[in-house]
Symmetry: C2
Subunit: 325 residues, 2 copies
Amino acid sequence: MKLESLAESLRDYLGATRKHSIKNIVNMFDEKGTNPSFGEDAAIIEAGEEALLLAADGIWDRLMRADPEWSGYCAILVNVHDIAAMGGRALGMVDIFSSSSPELSEKVLKGMKAGVEKLGVPIVGGHIHPDTPYTAVDVAILGRVKKDSIIYSSTAKEGDDIVLGIDLDGRVHPSCDMNWDSTFLKEAAIVRHQMESMVELGERHLLTAGKDVSNPGILGTLGMILEVSGAGAEVELDSIPKPASLDWDRWLKMYPGMGFIVTCRPENTARVIEVFNNHKLNASRIGKIVPGSHLDIVRGGERATVFDFTKHNITGLRPVKGCNQ
Amino acid sequence: MKLESLAESLRDYLGATRKHSIKNIVNMFDEKGTNPSFGEDAAIIEAGEEALLLAADGIWDRLMRADPEWSGYCAILVNVHDIAAMGGRALGMVDIFSSSSPELSEKVLKGMKAGVEKLGVPIVGGHIHPDTPYTAVDVAILGRVKKDSIIYSSTAKEGDDIVLGIDLDGRVHPSCDMNWDSTFLKEAAIVRHQMESMVELGERHLLTAGKDVSNPGILGTLGMILEVSGAGAEVELDSIPKPASLDWDRWLKMYPGMGFIVTCRPENTARVIEVFNNHKLNASRIGKIVPGSHLDIVRGGERATVFDFTKHNITGLRPVKGCNQ
């Protein structure tokens, strides 16, 4: 695939365009644009020496229809990631579970239980609608982080290196071919240790920004960082860690089971990669933060723009002056 | 209506029977029955001098289909109540919003915004599914409470008085005739002051147990306290505060906009009523906690059993030895 065609395919990928409506909601609740948590994976609520992190994530109904058990598992996985993305540790979750049948309930709950056991974060309460026409599971999670160790999305700066930490030891999930599953079959201790990589990176102050790779994939997630940081990026395609069995178009659209995209000052890049490696994650420097508003991919002498944020939106969120900076 | 017919009608009311499936979920995640937060309105997560409260509540899809704006408003109202029920103050909320159309989204969000403005608790983040076949809003809320001031559901004791604090100054909601709305048209300062009644009752240690009146109505909510406290109750029907325009069967099935059912030692009953009154709530002693497993209503010489928890379930939860006691 030509680089330009790849860029276009990625830009149009539904996983990214679904995020557009975030902006409208944010605007509705925060007309002055003063909430520093918008655009972040978790909201920062509270003070003392530690900050509390509150996040909520649900599972796309397409996934629920494809595989209820895997959906229940992912509902846990994505929430714990939202806390890790901020450099935090999860304390507990609550779920709101709507179910159209006992059979579906059993499958979803089985998956959630597997997720709880894998990640070691308890479900401490919740709410159930046992008789809805649809089946959906929404989870909210509470975490905490040292105040000086919070990892934000909106703080990437020109000149930073971009590092991807990701687990390539996995499989295409049997019932969802856009999910790269690296956790379900893996020992819980390893998965939890991978999640801790972000706590160490935060506490050692090695990053300028970071985010877990979510549905918009590796470059879509990087794009979300760029939108709220007000910056551009140049990514060397061939430096992105990739399972050998997958082509670029597919890999870059996938939701990986365990991936973090972070930025750091170049003098810290080697340390950041080392932390990811010590936590059993593949890691590479994949590019750099540049001035402007383009997310470009480059390969040899070829260059293509995946997003130009003067024209394209992922979340549509933009930097707020005086916040997080 | 004869007292026995009223008891039967209340027992069969869907708002109570929908809670049955809670037990199955609790059992799945907590096989040893050791989590002290189950059966409570919010989970107690964390220590220091204050405890954190995490709760999640969603809106019944029937209500969503009847009135999306009112559903959005209620999603906020019920969550803030879950924190107040434990004697806590809300810090912030996250929402997961699934929407089938922009028109519906706008209505739901308008309602949520009205709720946020009324109650003064911010939405600090969330997740959106803009393209689901259904519209649903789930909210999770974080609150805090002094550790020695937590109000539990499972700690009602034989000999306690039962007090209802409730706002009769309201209306049957125009689009949902099972909702008694006392908040939507009321000044925000009054609504917030009403919510604070539980904080004062908790901090003054005037209660033995308490809960906000939710979908199962006044007696269904009392029943939930009895189930997890392992006690019975005798309620004098005519002592329950009631809007003059409504009959008993209807009133006792309604979700009130602002109601708390609490238990206390008889020597504190007058103080509890006074606190509710000072917070602009109607309040009366409506009965007492008795040994056994029956929730009985009495009027003159007549008596009828609404629930016998050896045979009937609301949540199906039962006391766990060594927890909260």
